[in-house]
Symmetry: C2
């Protein structure tokens, strides 16, 4: 196996401290911001699921053609954890985070990036999806 | 800020190489395995969303009370990337991965674990959720 450093995708974990606590507890607002953040980054939104916990906290995931953008909020601590898994070249993850941060108003925004799916060169000069695979089937299991 | 090493949650990224390619492309099977893996780990399933791409690949997320369990598969490469974000003490993430791996039959299963939400001690002797917060409201934004 020749190590090429090439990967199928990038997974960025974001830690957001001292955010606007009111927004962190507003499921509709968080959903709207997350979907727009995904679009802003150039991703294609496939599915959206958000959940409000009582009395505090929101969890939600935007499934995109290029993987996912997830968030979990702790309004009681002013903290939110987001992660964006993206594949291919046309999504700019930093645009999503910039958009998200504009609305969550974090005092500290810390990220960690991991390469996902580092394949052996034997797999060929791989792309994250074969060309015909980019058009997704609208078949969803609820 | 005193560094305590305490965190709200753990986020484990799993790389699964040379899995069963047929299963990796079966959205119903992947959904079933993922939900059962979450339950096996002791998590409470809140929402489930899975998507089949054409001709290859499945993306899906199980939103749990304790955060999420996500997967993206590349049957064409025999590869799957999963991640489990879990909070609190009662979920055992390794049980979820063991269950998952039993069915995906990966030749190589590599994990990376990150602590999420390391809060300053000023936040007090925090728990991942206040007691009354463990009962979630069944309010979902679709």
């Amino acid at each position: 196996m020749k190590i090429t450093g090439k990967s199928l995708g990038r997974h960025i974990l974001a830690e957001m401290y001292n955010c606007n606590r009111e927004i962190l507890n507003d499921v509709e607002k968080i959903k709207e911001i997350m979907v727009k953040a995904a679009i802003e980054a150039g991703a294609e939104v496939v599915e959206v699921v958000f959940h409000k916990f009582s009395p505090y906290g929101v969890s939600g995931v935007v499934v995109i053609s290029e993987s996912h953008l997830a968030i979990h909020t702790w309004p009681e601590y002013g903290f939110a954890a987001a992660d964006l898994f993206t594949c291919g070249d046309h999504v700019n993850p930093w645009k999503a985070f910039e958009y998200l941060n504009n609305y969550l108003q974090a005092e500290q925004f810390i990220t960690f990036e991991a390469k996902r799916g580092i394949l052996p060169i034997e797999a060929g000069n791989f792309t994250y999806k074969p060309e015909e695979n980019k058009k997704e089937v609208k078949e969803t299991v609820g």
